[in-house]
Symmetry: C2
Subunit: 163 residues, 2 copies
């Protein structure tokens, strides 16, 4: 499979997982957290899917399309290790959905970040909240959530925040 | 439509157009030209589709995944305006297929590049060669080629190099 094929599958998996997650949190109050603004495509997608929710976006720096940059209240700049532990003061109440597109080309760094991330994000999430992530997280903190039909195992990940 | 939706449509259109072009040039001898290496995804896709063809890639600099960088013979570095007019010496014979992913976020720059590009690439292409491009080119130099079913007009462009 070429990198273009792989990239398309990943983008479709991401979109399918987000659509499924949005359906599942309809009745769960709370804002949305986006880890990694990147070029802003997924942030833009989330605000289309959930126009009535606040979306708080975390990233080290802004490299997004100018139309896809959150306002100052909702853009939290800095290293995840510094911004996530203090995030509840900023987001105000537990989130109903978290999307993380946090992987890089470095597998060891990805694994370390994923191990750190699971316990770090748990306190930010409402019981029953969903996590959609490009990395596999530690199952101790979360329950694996069934991927939508058509999304291959390992292409994207979904978790339920345990009660 | 969100930017993620739009991006997915564009990637699918690109892949469908390349698949169609590759089918149409089976009997036409000649190398492949890729304008814009970028992250190397499309170059990787082209070498999967056409493992027996030489692929010459033009870009100003290399920012691709290390696995997706052509060898020195096939990577032509520099501004298109300098490298393309002298390219026949490098590629050796007229190309059967050219793919151009040359657009930026600047519509005026894109239009200027597209206007310059059509006559500049024509001498590099064999009669009957196909062009697959993210920009609309001047029809004087090329004949519009029907897009594959499912690809919206304006999402991607295909041209036949007139005899």
């Amino acid at each position: 499979m070429s990198r273009l094929d792989s990239f398309i599958r990943r983008a479709l998996a991401q979109r399918d997982c987000l659509a499924e997650a949005v359906r599942r949190i309809v009745a769960l109050d709370g804002p949305v957290i986006e880890l990694g603004l990147g070029n802003g495509r997924t942030f833009d997608h989330l605000r289309h899917l959930l126009p009535d929710r606040e979306i708080f976006v975390f990233d080290r720096h802004i490299a997004a399309h100018p139309d896809c940059i959150p306002d100052d209240k909702h853009m939290i700049l800095g290293d995840f290790c510094e911004t996530i532990p203090n995030a509840m003061a900023r987001i105000g109440k537990p989130a109903a959905l978290l999307h993380g597109d946090v992987g890089s080309g470095d597998a060891a760094k990805n694994a370390a970040l994923a191990a750190w991330l699971a316990p770090a994000i748990r306190p930010l999430l409402a019981p029953g909240a969903l996590v959609v992530c490009d990395q596999s997280l530690l199952a101790d903190d979360f329950e694996l959530f069934d991927l939508p039909a058509g999304v291959e195992t390992g292409r994207y990940f979904m978790y339920l925040r345990r009660e």
